[in-house]
Structures are given as C-alpha cells and as structure tokens.
C-alpha cells in the first residue's frame, strides 16, 4: 500500500514538473537586442544621433520596431536627457540636434552620448554609449596650373578652447553620382590635420559642368562621422538632351519601313485580287 502511495506521489510530482517545464517553454522570452549608435555631423552643422536596433533569429536579423529609445548626453557628471524617439520599421531611431546646441563636455572635451531601450515583454534592456569630441572639417577647392586640388583640414578644440589639428583622422573624398558616391581618394590627415586630393580631369558633370564634392571623416571613434559638401564647375559638360524620335512605334507617325512594308504587301495582294476580278469579268464575253 505504501509503495503504491509513494509511486503515485512521485508520478504526480513528475507530472507537475513536466507541465511547468512545458509552460516555461511556451512563455515568450524577451529577446536580446543589439544596439548600434552613430554620431553624424551633417554639412549644415546639424548633429544626428542614429540608433539602430535589431535582434537575431537564427541567422536572420530582424529590426526592433516601434520601441522607445531614450537619448542622453553626459559630460562632467552632468546628464542631459535629450529626447525619446520611437524606432521605425527598419529599427532606426534618429535624433536631429540643432547646430548651436551645447552638449555637456568633460575635461577632455568629450561628450558621452547614450541610447537606451528599456526592457519590455518582447525585448531585453539595451544600451549603448559612445564618447564623441566635437570636430570641424573644412575644405577648399583650388586650381593650380590647371590641376584641380581638394584641400581639407580636420580640427578640434583643446582643453582651453584653442583649435587643435586632428592627426590621423580617416578621411574620404567623393564626387556625387546619380545613385552613389564615387570615391576620388581616401587616407588619413597629417599632423597638421591636412589632407589633399587631385580632382580627375575627365569627371563628367551636369549640362553646365557642375559636380558635387563631398568630404567625410568616416566613423571615427573620437569624432564620429563628419560631412561637408560643395558644388563647383569642375566636371566636363555633358548634354543630357534626348534625341527626338520622330517616327517610332510610340509616336503619332509610324516608322517609314513599316509604312512601306504594309503598302507593298497590301498593294501586292489587292493588285492580284483586281487582276483575278478582271479575268472573271471577261468570262461572259469569252468564246
């Protein structure tokens, strides 16, 4: 009798445990979120904090959609809450900050930017911090002895606010094309924060020779991404006027060859038809 009771108790407990395990498996676990944060300084001085969030399902990456992302800037123990932005369907939450907005900085001139997503039923908490120091990118376009040169300088600010050249900053020089950027040269600035590139002679421009030159400090650990843009008539003039198609399938007038072909076929057929009719018309009087 006792053995039976023990067996019954054990099996009951095992049943409960197995059910709990199944229930736990059926519960939706919050997913781990990967968060990337970028700092971009646009040509007009506007700063962009761009947070991208995604989660991994096997080998597939999925965007974290419609989640609140809190942006903050920290410098010298002062934390400034910037804004809360919802992520879009691609998983991006972008914060645009005006050119003249002052961020708190620490002694070395760095600001810690933070993007944070709180825990929800779907996702785990995620946070990313980057330390960025404000920098300036300037470039000039000079033509010396028919050689077109792009000269650029990258500078930052010292602890006393003085301008300091940025050494070894990765820079890229591009020309804007219809669907992408054409890279002219890339490299690093020297100790004076200087970098130069020669503009190609045969670069096609628009109908007046205009080209758009873009220079970038690309994804620097200390300065983020900085962009500058200028237009100049350095390109070769290209005429984009389309040749007028006078006689085509889609215009009012048919191609000449088609009219000739149709006329020849129809005339040939109807001439023979008329000839046959003529022959038959002579039957009555034929002896």
């Amino acid at each position: 009798m006792k053995i039976k009771e023990i067996l019954f108790s054990v099996s009951f407990v095992m049943f409960l445990i197995s059910n709990m395990a199944v229930a736990q498996e059926n519960e939706i676990k919050p997913k781990k979120v990967r968060l990337k944060l970028e700092y971009i300084k646009l040509p007009n001085g506007t700063k962009v904090l761009n947070a991208k969030m995604y989660w991994k399902d096997g080998k597939e990456f999925n965007a974290v959609v419609d989640q609140d992302v809190m942006f903050a800037a920290v410098g010298d123990s002062v934390e400034l809450k910037l804004a809360t932005i919802k992520s879009n369907k691609e998983g991006f939450a972008k914060l645009y900050i005006e050119k003249d907005f002052k961020f708190p900085i620490n002694e070395e001139g760095f600001t810690s930017f933070t993007a944070k997503m709180n825990k929800s039923t779907q996702f785990k908490r995620a946070k990313k911090t980057i330390n960025i120091k404000d920098a300036e990118l300037d470039f000039t376009l000079n033509e010396i002895d028919s050689v077109k040169i792009i000269e650029l300088n990258v500078s930052s600010f010292g602890t006393d606010g003085e301008i300091v050249p940025v050494n070894r900053a990765e820079v890229n020089v591009y020309v804007k094309r219809l669907h992408s950027l054409y890279e002219i040269k890339k490299g690093a600035t020297n100790e004076n924060g200087f970098f130069s590139a020669v503009f190609p002679e045969d670069m096609p421009g628009d109908s007046t020779g205009n080209v758009t030159i873009i220079v970038k400090v690309l994804d620097s650990d200390d300065y983020g991404t900085i962009e500058k843009v200028q237009n100049i008539k350095w390109g070769t003039i290209v005429s984009y006027a389309e040749e007028e198609h006078v006689r085509t399938l889609w215009t009012g007038e048919a191609p000449v060859w088609m009219i000739i072909a149709v006329c020849v076929i129809l005339l040939g057929a109807w001439f023979n038809f008329a000839l046959a009719i003529y022959k038959v018309s002579k039957i009555k009087n034929a002896v």
Binding site: V262, L266, A269, N272, F273, V280, K282, I283, K284, A286
Partner: protein, 444 residues
C-alpha cells in the same frame, strides 16, 4: 466505273438542292432558336454592360476571345489547306475543297463577331478605322481580316461559278424561280468554253495564291497580338508558327468531322472514301507530332525562365484545382491520342479518326483557353483589389449563350450552303486531274 460515277455526281446532289424537307426546316429552326438565345444574351449584355460577363479589370478577355482565336484559326486553316489543294492540284482533296471554303468564310464571319461582343462599346468599333495607327498590331489584324474576308468571299464565288452554271442549265430542277435567277446571275454567263475555262482557272489560281500568304500573315498577326505583350505565357517568339500550326491542325480535324457528317447524311461513300480519312488521319498524326514539339518548346522555355510569375503560371497548369485537368486533356487529346489512334493500324478506322478529330478540336479550343485566361490571371504586377471574382475568371451564361450561338451560326451556314449548291465541288470532281493525283496513283 469511276467515270460513270463522275458524270452522275451532280444528279446525286439534286435531291438535296431541291425543295427542303421537314427535317431541314426543323434543323434550321433549332439552330435559329439557339442563335436567338445568343442574340437575347447580346442585347442583355448591351443593356446591362460587360458586368454580366465574367470579364473584369484583371481578366479583361474571356471566352469571347478564345472563340475569336479558335474560329479565326479554322478560317485561316480552311483558306490555307484549300489554297494548297488547289494550287498543288491534289485530286484526292477535291471532295473537301468546298467544305474548306465554307469553313473559311463562316469562321471569318463568326470570329470577328466575338470581338465585337467582347468590346464594351461596340459602336466604337469604327474608330479602329477612323483613328487607325499603322504601328498597332491590332490594326494589322483588322486589315488582314478585312482583306482576307474579301479575298475568300470572292474566291468562294469563283469556285461556285461552274456549279452554278451547271445548276442553271440542269433540266427540270424543282426549285423556286428566284433561285434559278440567282444561279443565272451568279454563273456570270459561264458556258464552259475553252476560253472561259482558262480565264476562270487563272482567276482561281491567282486567288488561291493570294489566300495562302494572307492566311499565314493574318494568323501570325493574331499570334503577335499576344506574343508582343509582356505577359507570362504570351511573350513568346514561337507563337506565330505555333498558331499557324494549331490552325491547320484544328482545320483538318474539323474537316474530317464535316466530311463524315456529309458522307453519312448525303450518302457520299463513292465520293468521300476511306482513303480520304486515312490521308487526313496521317496528316493529323504528323501535325500532332509537330504540335507536341511546339507545345513542349513553349512550356520548357517558360519553365526555364527565372521569372517568378512564369513559375506561378506553370504551377497552375499542374494544379488540378486550377487548370490541371484542362492542361492534361488539352495535351493528351491534341498531342498524344492521335499518335496512338492513327499511328497504330489496329486502332485506325473512320470512326476512330472522326472521334479523335472531335477530341482534337475540343483540345485545341481548350489550348486557346489556356493561352488567354491563366496568363491574364497571373499578371507581373498583381491588382490591389483581390476579390476572387476579380482575380479569377469564370464565364457566365451570357458568354456561353453567345458561344453556342456562334457554333449554331457555323452549322447553319453549312446547312444553308449545302442547300444552295452541292457541298462537293461537282465541276472539279468531274474534271480530269491535271496536277498531282498521288491519291489515286497510290491507291489503285
């Protein structure tokens, strides 16, 4: 024996030409009743609009277009085969020449009527001529059909002239006076003199020579109407020869059926022999092989195409809840059955050839359906409104009524034409063959 028969050919047809009996009137009445229902359906469609058909924004063409292609195929087949028989002087083909010509004319009338009932505003039809753009394949087709109709009507008359002259001169013909006048006018004063024979023969040769290329061009143009469209299942360079081949194939199958009916009804066993069925059966066998080859080429090219929509279209042909049965019947009846029935001597008989021909005609109608409807149901860019009745096509009673009316008109034309003059070209039959006569040579 043969020459005796030849002299009495017209006499054998006289009872069928004279005053009609009750059976004839009953047949005509039934056919007219079916046409009447079709006319009612057409008026109903005009009154209510195209909404009474199964055609919608997605599937803009339906059974009307299928019938148009089918009947145009028959007409061009009739013209093509008739022209080749005449030019080639194939004496064994003479009994079927007139039937072919009637098939041509009747189909050329019935086919375009289906386009008129297909377009939503038939009164705008004349705009095709007033605002014609020579670049448009539709205009090419309109020109070709109009020209072909003219040529074939005139050619048909040419082939009737000698028979009309015989009927005009036939003694004691028990027919109405207006018919006697009709024969006199239509015979154009033909008296079978050497000079008249020469002139008529020349005129017939010229017309036959025009009709052959016109038929090929016209049906190719119809094929290009589809082939030039950027649609899965249509955009295919093989379509023009494929259409011409299918036309000849369906035309020969139909002529076998018509021959068999007239052979039975008019007791023409002396005139339409088993060899005619055998010869046309061999032609069907050959065409079945070509048809199978063309069909395979069409589908393999479409299948190998990497476009997703092409795969969706072909999947519908394999899916028995969609077009699987239609696809299977169409290919089995048109490409495989003739090889078995006609290719194996034990299975070959007049009846089996006729039944196979009937199935081939049906299969080729199905093939036209498979060309038109599934392609329209599978566009590259699907419509936004996905109501099932918009996405999928299903013909309504209006469309079926008009289809039956078209078939009834086709049959009626034969019933009436065989009452006007012999259904077999008597003059041709009586004439000694000057051209190729391998039929009688090989079958002594």
């Amino acid at each position: 024996m043969e020459s005796e028969y030849r002299e009495d050919i017209l006499g054998g047809f006289i009872p069928h030409i004279q005053k009609p009996d009750r059976k004839w009137y009953a047949t005509v009445f039934v056919l007219l009743a079916i046409i009447g229902v079709g006319l009612f359906a057409f008026v109903y469609q005009l009154y209510k609009g195209q909404i009474v058909t199964g055609m919608r924004d997605n599937v803009v063409l339906g059974v009307y277009t299928v019938n148009f292609i089918f009947f145009m195929g028959l007409s061009y087949a009739g013209a093509l085969i008739g022209g080749i028989f005449h030019i080639g002087g194939f004496s064994w083909g003479r009994p079927m020449l007139r039937m072919l010509e009637i098939v041509t004319i009747t189909s050329l009338i019935v086919g375009p009527i289906f386009i008129l009932v297909c377009i939503g505003r038939p009164e705008r039809f004349l705009n095709l001529f007033f605002y014609a753009r020579i670049q448009s394949p539709i205009i090419w087709d309109v020109i070709a059909i109009v020209s072909d109709l003219f040529f074939c009507v005139v050619y048909l008359h040419f082939t009737y002239i000698r028979d009309f002259a015989k009927l005009r001169d036939y003694p004691n013909l028990n027919i109405a006076n207006w018919r006697k006048k009709f024969y006199k006018i239509m015979a154009l004063g033909y008296n079978d003199t050497k000079a008249q024979q020469r002139l008529l023969h020349q005129a017939q040769n010229i017309m036959a020579a025009i009709i052959i290329p016109t038929a090929i061009i016209a049906y190719s143009l119809l094929a290009w109407l589809f082939g030039m469209n950027q649609r899965p299942g249509w955009n295919n360079s093989i379509f023009a020869p494929y259409f011409v081949l299918s036309a000849v194939y369906s035309g020969i199958a139909l002529i076998i059926i018509i021959m068999w009916i007239y052979r039975k009804v008019y007791k023409l066993e002396q005139c339409i022999k088993k060899e005619h069925f055998d010869f046309l059966g061999y032609t069907l066998l050959l065409l079945a092989l070509f048809y199978g080859y063309f069909s395979f080429s069409e589908y393999i090219t479409e299948w190998y195409n990497s476009a997703k929509t092409s795969s969706i279209l072909l999947a519908k042909f394999w899916d028995f809840s969609e077009y699987g049965f239609m696809f299977m019947f169409s290919n089995f009846f048109a490409a495989i059955l003739p090889i078995i029935v006609i290719g194996i001597p034990q299975f070959r008989s007049i009846k089996s050839i006729v039944i196979t021909s009937g199935l081939i005609v049906f299969a080729l109608w199905l093939k036209r359906y498979l060309i038109v409807i599934p392609s329209l149901e599978t566009p590259y860019i699907p419509i936004q409104d996905e109501r099932l009745e918009w996405v999928f096509y299903s013909a309504t009673w209006v469309e079926w009524a008009l289809t039956l009316a078209g078939i009834a008109f086709f049959v009626l034309a034969f019933v009436v034409m065989s009452k006007i003059a012999p259904i077999v070209n008597v003059s041709e039959m009586e004439e000694k063959s000057k051209g190729l006569k391998f039929f009688y040579k090989t079958r002594k």
